[in-house]
């Protein structure tokens, strides 16, 4: 038996930093995970929804008479039938000139987008419920509408919400310095109108909801494929007038979200109201057509931006006018400000820039509401800014890497206040840039590109550098006065009488492996074995307030709270053990499930200590005895900067105009890494979605307001053949000043990839003078750009 001295104590194996295999995996791999649609209690009524096929129309009449007599159908509901059952959800905010569009479960009076729920059918099977849909006759009076954001902002545009008096319900400006003067006098300026088109998250599991009403307790349980169970619980408590101890929202295994399941949905309110009304479980599973028509959408930003630089490449000034298409409703709870405001607040990027003005308008259009999707406003802002940087670099004949090197904020300048008021505390901006170049062997890549270009091939290199705020505390809100708290996270840890360790959180893991990573943090801080920790999450009943997992918050906030509560419990355990072992408490430590004295052989297991504390009366003196529990809430107050550089080489096929990615590297500063395998997986997954946004994905509404990309054969997702191997460099530099030293991560790929790929394509086609201003850069778009550039060159 080894003798421990104080130096060897520090070398005990740590879980944080190790590639621990996930505890979630066995059940998911064996096919016994439990997703919402896997549950069908007896007497479940299955819901199907008749959705609007009109972009904007008054509902004149709903005739469901025939539908009721379809075999298997139990009931049919429209908004009028639910008037007394629910109150609307209202996405409040104190923003000036904002209108909080009330959200009802079913369309009242009029419909505002194709796909909006109008009538709900309940039947003994989904098949029967869908049969009934065809027998519902709805008479609409079509109303005028403006489908494009540029048209919807016009003063005389038809209004989607008359009460708002306008379609522009979000309006914000960030400014610093004298940008108009600076641009007017600048030696070099570049300008373009950038368009990032509409996307949707497409989780492979469709949104699914099952509401159960307990008639004994008059209590409701909603099983929801959501990443915000706490937020949904609080909202439904209002909508249904049920106190929080009689309404519970549980997210079981959830098949991805990426933000698409991160808002309150009509159907969630619906299944709850109907389950309570009918006293039977009500289940609704969205199908893929409905998902592509009606789940929240994102990234739809039109950015008119101009950058001024000096002849030596120094950034002088930036101004931008942005129109964000926020769909038909201000989404609950984030409000329609969620994405548009982040576009202008993050546009200056990780650069030194004194003079700036970013204006944004969020405009209502007849489309599903704009909601969270990985990266939120940052993919669009990074696309615009990084394109401008490359355009400026090309104009002055400077290498794009050098251009960034000159302008990225340097270590000695932290904390740096950006022109939009964000604070970069400290992050490895420069090291990520040089790291990505080293990893990719940039000089060799340049030679390869030039050799290929000499052969007439369309090969290009592009990069993007960005910074974002993650792990955000209570100081920063998505929209001022919005009805939720995203800035705190609670960890409640208890060791029970059997010595079992349970840790409950308000987060809601849906693929991020938090059951594993939080257990790693706790094992290190508490001194128990990883396998003895049971992580509970995804359940509004676990903590007094909870929100969920989104905005790259869980490692920082839940990891921080877990650290705090572990330390409190550990202190209690050691205090009890000190008494039991008759050893001074300062001589004790805990590791791998054992409490041991540093200077002797004496040790006890957690189980033995728990048994003594809980089950042996009088073993610990009454006045010293404490339960081995703790509940701590962590608020990092600010956010932490997280940064990265992406570097990519592409080749464009001159026959098909298809883009192949030849090389992709990411250098990321994400602080102290809990599980490198999981971090790599997040980067790879996010880059894949970024590739989708750059090359493949686009939700299209045609001029008649119909969504024409409502299948996976139209809305194209990246496949294994579209995504390359990704070289990843982790820079665990100067750790941030939060508990644990973690930075949030996970969204970086969608933020960095579209910009880097757009730059690479522009570089590849630069001999033709083609610039990418719109994404996705589909073969059709590239073809049109090349053809038009070629014709211009030929004077056609």
């Amino acid at each position: 038996m080894k003798r421990f001295d104080s130096s060897s104590v520090e070398m005990r194996p740590k879980m944080v930093g190790q590639r621990i295999k996930r505890t979630e995996d066995p059940r998911l791999l064996a096919g016994v995970g439990r997703y919402v649609d896997d549950m069908t209690p007896s007497k479940t009524l299955h819901m199907a929804i008749r959705r609007s096929d009109q972009p904007h129309a008054r509902i004149v009449k709903i005739d469901a008479g025939e539908a009721i007599s379809v075999p298997g159908v139990f009931a049919v509901f429209s908004a009028a039938d639910l008037e007394d059952e629910v109150k609307p959800a209202v996405p409040i905010s104190t923003m000036k000139n904002y209108y909080a569009t009330p959200i009802w479960p079913l369309a009242r009076g009029k419909v505002r987008y194709v796909g909006e729920p109008v009538v709900a059918v309940l039947a003994d099977s989904r098949y029967a419920a869908e049969d009934a849909l065809e027998h519902i006759h709805i008479e609409y009076e079509a109303l005028p509408f403006a489908i494009r954001q540029v048209d919807a902002v016009a003063d005389d545009a038809p209004l989607l919400h008359e009460e708002a008096g306008t379609n522009v319900i979000i309006s914000r400006e960030f400014a610093r310095g004298e940008v108009d003067n600076v641009i007017a006098q600048a030696p070099v300026t570049v300008r373009a109108t950038f368009r990032m088109t509409r996307k949707t998250a497409v989780s492979i599991e469709n949104r699914s909801y099952l509401a159960e009403w307990d008639r004994r307790r008059l209590a409701l349980t909603l099983h929801s494929s959501t990443n915000i169970p706490g937020i949904v619980r609080d909202a439904l408590s209002n909508c249904l007038d049920l106190p929080g101890n009689r309404i519970r929202v549980v997210a079981p295994d959830v098949g991805g979200s990426f933000g698409g399941k991160g808002s309150l949905y009509h159907e969630e309110i619906l299944v709850c109201a109907l389950a309570r009304k009918l006293g039977r479980p009500v289940k609704y599973v969205c199908d893929r057509l409905e998902d592509l028509s009606a789940t929240s959408q994102a990234f739809d930003q039109l950015i008119d931006a101009e950058l001024a630089v000096d002849e030596d490449g120094t950034l002088l000034g930036l101004r931008a006018d942005v129109i964000g298409d926020i769909g038909a409703y201000s989404i609950y709870p984030w409000t329609g400000a969620l994405e548009p405001v982040q576009v202008v607040s993050f546009l200056p990027g990780p650069y030194r820039l004194q003079h700036y003005r970013g204006r944004v308008r969020g405009v209502l259009t007849p489309k599903p509401p704009t909601g969270p999707y990985r990266g939120v406003g940052r993919p669009a802002s990074t696309f615009a800014m990084e394109r401008l940087i490359d355009m400026a670099a090309r104009k002055i004949g400077m290498d794009p890497v050098e251009m960034r090197r000159r302008n990225l904020v340097r270590a000695e300048e932290f904390p740096y206040r950006t022109a939009s008021g964000l604070i970069w505390d400290k992050s490895a901006f420069q090291e990520c840039l040089s790291g990505a170049c080293d990893l990719a062997d940039y000089p060799t890549l340049l030679r390869e590109r030039d050799d290929a270009r000499a052969e007439g091939r369309w090969v290009g290199i592009g990069l993007s550098s960005y910074a974002e705020l993650t792990g955000i505390g209570s100081r920063i809100s998505v929209a001022p006065g919005m009805p939720i708290n995203t800035g705190t996270e609670t960890s409640s840890i208890r060791i029970d009488a059997t010595g079992a360790i349970t840790a409950a959180f308000g987060i809601a893991s849906h693929g991020q492996g938090l059951e594993t990573t939080l257990a790693q943090v706790i094992a290190d801080e508490l001194g128990c074995r990883l396998e003895d920790v049971e992580i509970q999450h995804g359940d509004s009943a676990l903590t007094p307030v909870s929100s969920g997992t989104f905005a790259s918050r869980s490692a920082v906030l839940a990891g921080g709270a877990a650290t705090m509560s572990s330390r409190v419990v550990k202190a209690k355990v050691l205090k009890a053990a000190a008494h039991l072992m008759n050893v001074p408490v300062d001589d004790l430590d805990a590791s791998e499930g054992l409490i041991y004295a540093r200077n002797s052989n004496v040790s006890m297991t957690f189980k033995e200590v728990a048994h003594a504390v809980y089950s042996q009366m009088g073993r610990i003196p009454r006045e010293q005895r404490e339960d081995l529990i703790a509940s701590e809430t962590y608020d990092p107050y600010f956010g932490t900067a997280c940064s990265s550089t992406h570097l990519v080489m592409v080749e464009i096929d001159p026959q098909t105009y298809g883009v192949t990615i030849r090389k992709y590297v990411v250098a990321e500063d994400c602080g102290r890494i809990i599980n490198p395998m999981i971090v790599d997986g997040q980067i790879q997954g996010a880059v894949a979605q970024g590739i989708g946004a750059a090359l493949l994905e686009e939700i299209v509404h045609d001029e008649s307001g119909q969504v024409v990309t409502a299948s996976l054969a139209d809305y194209l997702l990246p496949l294994a053949t579209n995504v390359p191997d990704i070289g990843i460099l982790h820079i665990e530099a100067d750790l941030p000043n939060n508990i644990g030293g973690f930075r949030g991560m996970g969204e970086g790929g969608t933020i960095g990839a579209p910009a880097a790929i757009a730059n690479a394509i522009s570089d590849a086609l630069s001999p033709l003078g083609v610039e990418i201003h719109t994404l996705p850069a589909t073969p059709e778009r590239i073809f049109q750009l090349v053809r038009s550039a070629t014709r211009n060159a030929e004077g056609v």
Binding site: L29, G33, I204, A720
Partner: protein, 160 residues
């Protein structure tokens, strides 16, 4: 409602005889009639591959197959490959390489790979990615899945 039809089908080695509507999808039959919810439904139009099972030994989309088409057939689903206590070889490789995040597409991948290992050349990464191109994963970006398949393919090669 159309007349129900009796089918007898073997699933993971166990025989089931049931009455089904002709229009019932195999995916719904497996999930809701037999309670084998490991097979997942992602699109119901044959694109995402989450519903992939083995039908008479070859991979098939259960969302594009009618239950009545499987009368007399032999079906294998992910539940037949292993258990929590004893994961099958493909499942274990996924665990070792972190080839899953939310787990929803995973059963479909595992069944596809089971078929590919038996019937396809997987000597290069390009061949592996091609073999996986009928299954969509939104979480992983595929690289760790490719790593898992590369290991399985090498193992298969060493048995030859």
């Amino acid at each position: 409602m159309s007349k129900r039809v009796s089918i007898t089908v073997s699933v993971n080695g166990q025989s089931y005889t049931q009455l089904v509507e002709p229009r019932m999808l195999l995916s719904d039959f497996l999930r809701h009639e037999l309670g084998l919810t490991g097979t997942h439904v992602g699109c119901e139009h044959g694109v995402c591959g989450a519903c992939t099972i083995l039908l008479d030994g070859r991979s098939a989309r259960s969302c594009l197959t009618l239950a009545v088409q499987t009368d007399g057939a032999d079906i294998q689903t992910v539940e037949g490959l292993g258990t929590i206590e004893h994961l099958g070889r493909v499942q274990q490789a996924f665990r070792d390489h972190h080839g899953l995040q939310c787990g929803f597409c995973t059963p479909g991948f595992v069944m596809t790979i089971t078929d590919m290992l038996l019937h396809h050349s997987l000597d290069t990464d390009d061949e592996i990615r091609e073999a996986l191109s009928g299954n969509i994963c939104r979480c992983t970006g595929y690289e760790h899945i490719v790593n898992a398949v590369r290991e399985l393919a090498r193992e298969r090669a060493s048995f030859k």
